[in-house]
C-alpha cells in the first residue's frame, strides 16, 4: 500500500515532519492495548489521516497485531484510512439538516462537497463542515458558494485575496 499523502513541491519533507510528530505523540502514550484508539487519534491529528506508516508505528508501540489494528481502525467512522480530498467540504444530512435544505447545499457545489451523517448541531441546521473540520450552521447555498470561493481565492497565491464578509452566518430565519 502506497501512502497517498499530501505531496507537493517539498511535500515529502512536510509529510516526514508530520510523521515524526505522530510518532512522538504515540511514543508519549503508555505501551498498553487500551491506548490503541488514543494512538490512532494522535496519528490522525498529526497527519490528517491514519497512514500505513502510522499504523505500523502504533503496532510497534502498543504491540497490538496489525490485523487487529485494521479491524479496530476501520470500525470508527471518524478515523480516515485514506488521505482526505483537499478542499472537500461536507454537508450534514441528518434529519434536521435534510428538512432545512441539505440537498440544496449539495447541489450548490457538487464537486466540492460530499454528504456526511449527523454532526449533532441540529438546532443550527443546515450544517456544513469545512476541510479543517470547522462547523458552519444556518447555511444557505449562496453563503456556501461564497465561502468556497473565498477559500479557493485564499489558497491560490494570486490574484490578491478578496476578503469576504462572514456572510454565511447572516442567513434567513428558519420557517416555523
Amino acid at each position: 500500500m502506497t501512502p497517498a499523502g499530501r505531496r507537493n513541491g517539498n511535500g515529502r519533507s512536510e509529510e516526514d515532519a508530520a510523521l515524526e510528530r505522530a510518532r512522538a505523540a504515540i511514543d508519549a502514550l503508555p505501551r498498553r492495548k487500551d491506548q490503541l484508539l488514543p494512538a490512532l487519534q494522535e496519528a490522525q491529528h498529526a497527519l490528517g489521516w491514519v497512514t500505513r506508516e502510522a499504523i505500523e508505528h502504533v503496532h510497534r508501540h502498543t504491540r497490538v497485531p496489525l490485523s487487529e489494528i485494521y479491524a479496530t481502525a476501520t470500525a470508527y467512522s471518524e478515523l480516515r484510512l485514506e488521505a482526505p480530498v483537499p478542499g472537500r467540504w461536507h454537508v450534514c444530512t441528518g434529519v434536521s439538516c435534510d428538512l432545512a435544505g441539505a440537498a440544496a447545499l449539495l447541489e450548490a457545489a457538487p464537486e466540492r462537497t460530499a454528504r456526511i451523517d449527523c454532526q449533532f448541531l441540529c438546532a443550527l441546521a443546515p450544517v456544513v463542515v469545512d476541510a479543517r473540520e470547522r462547523l458552519f450552521g444556518r447555511m444557505t447555498p449562496e453563503a456556501l458558494r461564497a465561502r468556497l470561493e473565498a477559500e479557493a481565492a485564499a489558497a491560490t497565491p494570486q490574484p490578491p485575496v478578496r476578503r469576504r464578509a462572514r456572510s454565511g452566518t447572516r442567513t434567513r430565519r428558519r420557517p416555523s
Binding site: 434536521s96 462547523l135 452566518t169
Partner: protein, 490 residues
C-alpha cells in the same frame, strides 16, 4: 441549589475562589456560537461597548441555540439574553448595561435544575462555586454514603441515556463489591438529533465532575473514565480545564471539601459510530478492542471495564445526581429539540407531570397544529403523531430525548428510509439479526405495501435477537411510521 447551608469547607472554597465581579456580558460562544459567527459578533460588540469592552466574557451556549450568536447581560437584579447579534443588537446590550432595559429574564427554560449554570458562567471555578457548584458533594461528604443513594431513590432518578434504569439499583450493585471499582461516564452521544451532553459539559463541566465525585463517595468507586464524543472537542477541552482547576483547588485529589475522595479521572474521546453509545461497546473501545457489543451477562456491574465492577452512567444522569438535594429535585429531562420550530435548542422540561408535547412545542415558539409529527429518538425512535401531543410526557418513553419536529409537508416515507439506511451503515456486524436485518429492511422498504408482512417479521427477529439496542430498536421508526402514517407510503 441544595437546601442545606454551605459547609465550612465549601465556605472556605468560595472565599478562596471568589466569583468574578459584576456586571458583565456573557458572550455565548461554544460550538453553537462559533458555527454562526459569534467571534465576529464579539468584535462588533466590543466596539459598541467601548470602555466597557472588558466586561465581555466568554461563555458557552446556554441551550438557546436558536439565539446564537447571543450575549447575556448580568447585572444586579437583571439577567437578560440578547439574541442574534449577527443581526445587530450591540446597542441594545449597551442600553441594557446602562439599566435602560425593562425586558424580563430568560426566554425558555433552565433557571433551575441541571441546566441552571449551563452557559451562564465564564468557565472559572469561582463562577461555578458562586452559582452552587460542589454544594451537593460538600453536603453529602459529611454524611454516610448510604444517604446519597437514599436521596437519589427519593428523587426516583433513572438513567437519562435512554435506558431509564434506576440509578440507585445500579450503584448499589457496584457498591456491594469489594476491591477496585470503576465508573464509566457515557458522553459519547452518537445518536443523530441529540446534543445535550455536549451542551452540559461545554457549558457547566464542574457539574459533571461533582456528579462523578458523588458516585465515588456513594459507592466506593475510585477510577473514572469519561468517554466524550470525538466531535465534541470543545466539551473535552472545557472538561479538562475544569478538572485541572478542581484538582488545583483540592476538590479532586485533595481534601478541600473536608475529606478526600479518591477519584482518578481519565478522559477519552470517541471516534464516531452510533453503536459506540452502547455501554458494552464503550468498554471495548476504552480497552482497545474492536468497538462491538459484548454478550450479557455478565453485566458491567459485576464484570465491566478491565473486568472490574463498573457503573456506566450517561453524563446527563450524573449531572442530574447533583440536583437530588435541591428543594425541587428532578424529574426533569433534557430535550434537544430541532426541526421545524422557530426556537430550536436544548430544553430542560419537567416530565411525569403536566408537560405535553404541545407545551414543549409552544416553548419553542411552534404551533402544534403546524407539525405533522415529532421524531423522538432518531434512528432508534418513533414518530409521535399529533394525536399524542396533548398527553403528558413520560420519562420512560423519552429515550435519550432527541426530538425533531417535522413540518406538515415532511416526507415521512423518505425520512423512514433514511433512518433505515443509517442503521444499516452503522450496524457493526457483530450479530446476524442486526447485520442482515438492517440491510433487509432497507430493501423491503422499497415497496412497503407489498412487503408489509415480511417487514414485520424482520423487525420482530431484530427486536428479539439482536445483541444490542442498535439492532433491537432499528425497526422501531419503521414500524411506527407504517402504523401511524400508512398514507405516506402509498
Amino acid at each position: 441549589m441544595t437546601r442545606f447551608p454551605p459547609t465550612a469547607a465549601l465556605h472556605a472554597l468560595r472565599e478562596a475562589h471568589p466569583a468574578p465581579a459584576r456586571p458583565r456580558v456573557l458572550l455565548h460562544l461554544g460550538t453553537c456560537g462559533e458555527a454562526v459567527g459569534a467571534p465576529s459578533a464579539r468584535e462588533a460588540l466590543r466596539e459598541v461597548l467601548g470602555a466597557r469592552a472588558p466586561w465581555v466574557v466568554e461563555a458557552a451556549c446556554d441551550g438557546a441555540c436558536w439565539a446564537a450568536p447571543a450575549a447575556t447581560v448580568v447585572r444586579e437584579g437583571h439577567v437578560h439574553r440578547h439574541p442574534r447579534l449577527d443581526d445587530g443588537g450591540g446597542d441594545a446590550v449597551a442600553a441594557c448595561l446602562d439599566a435602560c432595559c425593562d425586558a424580563e429574564g430568560y426566554a425558555g427554560t433552565g433557571e433551575r435544575g441541571l441546566t441552571a449554570r449551563m452557559g451562564r458562567n465564564d468557565g472559572s471555578l469561582g463562577d461555578a462555586l458562586a452559582q452552587g457548584a460542589y454544594a451537593a458533594i460538600a453536603h453529602a461528604i459529611t454524611r454516610p454514603a448510604a444517604e446519597t443513594i437514599e436521596a437519589i431513590e427519593r428523587a426516583r432518578l433513572t438513567g437519562r441515556g435512554g435506558g431509564h434504569f434506576p440509578v440507585p439499583t445500579k450503584w448499589k450493585l457496584v457498591a456491594a463489591h469489594g476491591g477496585e471499582k470503576w465508573l464509566l461516564v457515557n458522553a459519547e452521544e452518537g445518536e443523530p438529533g441529540v446534543f445535550k451532553d455536549r451542551h452540559l459539559i461545554e457549558g457547566d463541566p464542574h457539574r459533571l465532575i461533582e456528579g462523578i465525585l458523588l458516585a465515588c463517595h456513594a459507592t466506593g468507586v475510585t477510577r473514572a473514565v469519561v468517554y466524550i464524543n470525538g466531535q465534541a472537542r470543545n466539551a473535552r477541552a472545557a472538561f479538562e480545564r475544569a478538572l485541572a482547576d478542581a484538582r488545583a483547588a483540592g476538590i479532586v485529589d485533595g481534601d478541600a471539601l473536608g475529606r478526600r475522595i479518591e477519584a482518578a479521572i481519565e478522559v477519552r474521546s470517541g471516534a464516531g459510530g452510533y453503536v459506540c453509545g452502547e455501554e458494552s461497546v464503550i468498554m471495548n473501545s476504552v480497552e482497545g478492542e474492536r468497538p462491538v457489543p459484548r454478550y450479557k451477562p455478565p453485566f458491567a456491574t459485576d464484570h465491566g471495564l478491565f473486568r472490574w465492577p463498573t457503573i456506566i452512567n450517561n453524563a446527563e444522569t450524573l449531572c442530574a445526581v447533583t440536583t437530588v438535594f435541591d428543594e425541587t429535585p428532578p424529574p426533569t429531562k433534557l430535550i434537544p429539540l430541532s426541526g421545524a420550530v422557530p426556537r430550536p435548542g436544548l430544553y430542560e422540561v419537567p416530565v411525569d407531570g403536566a408537560t405535553t408535547w404541545a407545551g414543549v412545542l409552544a416553548m419553542a415558539g411552534a404551533s402544534p397544529g403546524r407539525a405533522s409529527a415529532v421524531l423522538l429518538g432518531g434512528p432508534s425512535g418513533r414518530f409521535v403523531p399529533p394525536a399524542e401531543f396533548d398527553r403528558p410526557l413520560e420519562m420512560r418513553a423519552l429515550g435519550a430525548g432527541g426530538a425533531v419536529v417535522l413540518p406538515r409537508d415532511a416526507d415521512i416515507a423518505k425520512i423512514t428510509r433514511d433512518l433505515a439506511a443509517y442503521n444499516m451503515r452503522e450496524s457493526c456486524g457483530e450479530c446476524t439479526p442486526c447485520r442482515e436485518g438492517t440491510a433487509r429492511l432497507v430493501e423491503l422498504l422499497a415497496d412497503p405495501g407489498a412487503n408489509r408482512a415480511r417487514i414485520d417479521e424482520v423487525i420482530e427477529v431484530m427486536t428479539e435477537a439482536s445483541l444490542c439496542q442498535l439492532g433491537g430498536l432499528a425497526g422501531r421508526p419503521v414500524a411506527s411510521a407504517l402504523a401511524e402514517f400508512p398514507v405516506a407510503f402509498e
